[in-house]
């Protein structure tokens, strides 16, 4: 029956009305772009916040124009107050982690390219897909609202630790209404991510084209699939934690608030709760979240490295198993965020060993990426540069993780700039490089035009050197004992480090400005870029068999049939140096 139906052609036309075509669209491609735009907006907000923070750290008295209009209380006369610094920090972290690193790689590119790469017409549940996007949008809107309330955004950090996050306004500016909005926003985001995850899993398992076995899937699809499983299981736990925190804040319960607490000279009438309970629940989500951010980047990096090295990915199966292992281990290591919380040394030892174990699949991946590049005739186009950059950042950021995963070292490094350096390198910048790789690689397919290569390369080099200039010195700051989350450095032991901070700030301004080159390239190429052919990169996967941009129903009602693996480059005896996955070409064995 399935074979008969493979021949039936069902063309579907796009809806005509603007609102159904672009706003409440059910088309996975439009939804993918919506997610991408949401992340693009968010990333520039998050970037602006970090620039403001870097200004404040080095020039605490600087008056920033217009800022007093946004928050007369937090920045009187445009001068950022220490509390407002914490507000900026909280929103920077929350926006970047949730609305950029979790949405762009998965909701954005995953939505757009998973159905195309597996030969499906759409995601399994288009309405659910639309619902996930608009729920995410609602979450972002609620979070953004915190900028415009009287005392500004919360100051609790993106981890929002109780008891201070649970006791209301006594804990500082933004901790009354602002913090409540924060919790609501995150709860909404959890629901949105879970709905999206269900769609990704069902689509990957059930809608693959004929012949596309799991072991022929592009590694990007594997990454999205595993990310979805991680998201489904971990966001549920954060949702539960968020509900309990909200009840502590508004319902008078004491899940997280201990007894006998005095905050700002105000007695807190709760008893018996456990702040550590929040940490357990939060990090049970929080650690898988790191992999939710970076797994899609690993997928697209593997994909792009193979394509531009014109070689099959080295150790395809090992890559799949390594990603799966990272996913499983990711659920067993949340305690390494809590080494200084007074946990039993035996527990800390167990969490430490499990954390170290992640180095094994990570090393396998790195080894295979390098193996893919070894002896290759590499085409150094912009997506390739960014994916090589991803590998570099992944290694750099991963190595400091080995330090932090050991309790004796972590007790020293905890809450210093060393931690900042570590997670910005690996979770922040490496994942962002994954997003850049995907953008430069798939832009031609999404919009039918090539991005400008010269601008792309300028963007790459400034960003690559820039992020190292920003985050490498932070390791040193951490070794010197520079605590994170301080708004100003006035202690004697910190004053000599100010020159390093100044260097970091200047590097951040330059790197931040370079992102405008990217934005310009994006917009300019949209209208003026060179027209893209069907398969400009000579890649093998299914999205490159359809026109750029793809028609509304992807494969024009046909059902592709898969004959080849995803990375058959430079196959001896083949006509060209790549074989499309759906090419019926038979290749003679001569090796």
């Amino acid at each position: 029956m399935a074979e008969m139906q493979a021949e039936i052609v069902h063309r579907h036309e796009a809806p005509k009305a603007f609102i159904w075509k672009y706003i409440f669209s059910l088309d996975h491609k439009v939804i993918g772009i919506q997610y991408y735009l949401l992340a693009l907006f968010s990333v520039f907000v998050g970037l602006t916040l970090s620039i403001l923070m870097r200004i404040h750290l080095v020039w605490p008295q600087a008056s920033i124009p217009l800022l007093d209009k946004v928050s007369p209380l937090g920045a009187p006369g445009g001068v950022i107050s220490p509390e407002y610094y914490l507000s900026l920090l909280t929103l920077h972290g929350t926006i970047m982690v949730f609305f950029v690193l979790t949405t762009a790689p998965q909701g954005g590119f995953g939505n757009y390219f998973l159905p195309l790469q597996i030969g499906a017409e759409d995601m399994a549940f288009p309405r659910l897909n639309m619902l996930s996007f608009w729920t995410t949008f609602a979450g972002l809107a609620v979070l953004m609202a915190t900028f415009f309330i009287h005392d500004g955004p919360p100051i609790g950090g993106w981890t929002s630790y109780p008891p201070l996050s649970a006791v209301g306004g006594a804990a500082g500016p933004g901790m009354a209404v602002g913090e409540t909005l924060w919790v609501v926003s995150i709860a909404i985001f959890c629901v949105a991510s879970m709905l999206g995850a269900i769609n990704f899993i069902a689509t990957t398992l059930d809608l693959r084209a004929r012949g596309l076995s799991l072991m022929k899937l592009p590694l990007t699809c594997w990454a999205w699939f595993l990310t979805a499983i991680l998201g489904l299981l971990s966001f549920a736990v954060l949702l539960a934690a968020g509900v309990l925190l909200l009840l502590d804040r508004t319902g008078g319960t004491s899940f997280f608030i201990p007894g006998g607490l005095l905050v700002s000279d105000k007695p807190i009438l709760h008893s018996g709760g456990s702040p550590l309970l929040w940490q357990h629940l939060f990090w049970f989500f929080g650690h898988p979240e790191v992999y939710i951010a970076i797994l899609p980047g690993m997928g697209v990096t593997s994909h792009v490295l193979s394509t531009f090295a014109r070689k099959p990915i080295f150790g395809y199966r090992a890559m799949v198993y390594a990603m799966s292992a990272i996913g499983v281990l990711g659920f067993c290591v949340w305690g390494h965020h809590m080494f200084v919380s007074g946990m039993s040394p035996y527990s800390a030892f167990a969490f430490s060993v499990l954390t170290m174990a992640i180095a094994i699949p990570s090393a396998i991946k790195t080894f295979n990426w390098i193996g893919t590049l070894l002896g290759a005739k590499i085409r150094f186009s912009t997506p390739m540069l960014f994916s090589i950059g991803f590998v570099s950042l992944f290694v750099t950021g991963g190595l400091s993780g080995i330090f932090l995963g050991q309790p004796p070292l972590d007790i020293y490094f905890h809450d210093t700039y060393f931690v900042l350096a570590h997670f910005h390198m690996i979770m922040g910048v490496a994942s962002i490089f994954g997003i850049f790789t995907a953008t430069y690689f798939w832009f031609p397919k999404m919009f039918g035009r090539m991005m400008n290569e010269t601008l792309g390369k300028i963007h790459f080099w400034i960003t690559f050197v820039g992020v190292y200039a920003i985050f490498m010195p932070m390791h040193y700051l951490g070794l010197e004992g520079n605590p994170r989350r301080y708004a100003e450095f006035i202690d004697n032991f910190l004053l000599p480090l100010m020159s390093v901070h100044r260097f970091i700030s200047i590097a951040a301004f330059i790197t931040g400005a370079a992102q405008l080159i990217f934005l310009f390239n994006l917009i300019w190429s949209l209208f003026k870029g060179k027209k893209a052919t069907e398969n400009p990169w000579e890649a093998t996967t299914l999205e490159w068999t359809v026109p750029s941009p793809p028609p509304f129903d992807n494969f024009a009602g046909k059902h592709p049939v898969i004959y080849h693996g995803a990375y058959e480059f430079s196959v001896p005896g083949a006509e060209k140096d790549y074989i499309m996955q759906n090419s019926p070409e038979e290749v003679a064995a001569d090796h």
Binding site: A236, T253, G272
Partner: protein, 222 residues
């Protein structure tokens, strides 16, 4: 060149049975319209069931998190005072179990294409579901009349959180069954697929089992 053929494996089978089953598994045209362009887009019933099973995986994690919070909160504090659960919960449990039974009866009736039986048991399920929610409200009122509120004690906090979370999920199930009622006529006539009913049934029975678990948790551990 003409030596042994190596690469292409036979595309005979997809990774999973059915492969890209667009268009399979339905009776005739139809499907819920709206949005334009999607009238013909449908995935196999199996995909919906798969999606539901994974969705339930997420719900399991939600309640697992609540449970672990409860175990930790109880184990590490000195302020835990057990509350006597309202007796009506036993009745509610019976009502919910009965609703699963009636739902199965309605599904069998649909398989026989017996419209009256199908409708009768479907409505019975809806009524029992609403009765359960009503019963839960009565249980809340009873606790409140005893002076036991959300913030009274951690054990009462968890009582309200767990029952409310379950109740909300069950309300979702009632809405889903409402949709099935809405499409019941065309389902019996075979004009639309029975997928919504099958998927709602998985969810409904799961909510039933989840309630048994929560009830056990509240009576034995709390």
């Amino acid at each position: 060149m003409a030596s042994t053929v190596l690469t292409p494996t036979k595309p005979a089978k997809a990774g999973k049975p059915g492969g890209s089953g667009r268009g399979s598994g339905g009776f005739g045209p139809g499907g819920s319209g709206g949005g334009g362009g999607w009238e013909g887009y449908r995935v196999p019933s199996r995909t919906y069931r798969l999606g539901m099973w994974f969705g339930l995986g997420g719900i399991v994690m939600l309640f697992a998190a609540f449970t672990s919070a409860m175990v930790v909160r109880r184990g590490m504090s000195f302020d835990w005072a057990s509350i006597a659960v309202p007796r009506i919960l036993w009745l509610n449990t019976g009502v919910l179990l009965a609703s699963s039974l009636t739902l199965e009866l309605s599904r069998r009736a649909l398989a026989r294409r017996s419209a009256t039986q199908f409708n009768r048991w479907l409505y019975a399920t809806l009524v029992l579901g609403l009765a359960f929610l009503g019963g839960q409200l009565v249980a809340w009122r009873e606790l409140a009349s005893r002076g036991v509120y959300l913030a009274t004690n951690p054990s009462s906090s968890f009582f309200y959180v767990l029952t409310a979370a379950h109740g909300l999920h069950l309300a979702g199930g009632i809405i889903a069954l409402g949709y099935v009622v809405f499409r019941a006529g065309s389902m019996v006539r075979g004009l639309t697929r029975r997928t919504p009913l099958d998927v709602a049934a998985i969810y409904w029975h799961f909510m039933d089992g989840l309630w048994i678990y929560i009830f056990f948790l509240l009576t034995r551990w709390s």
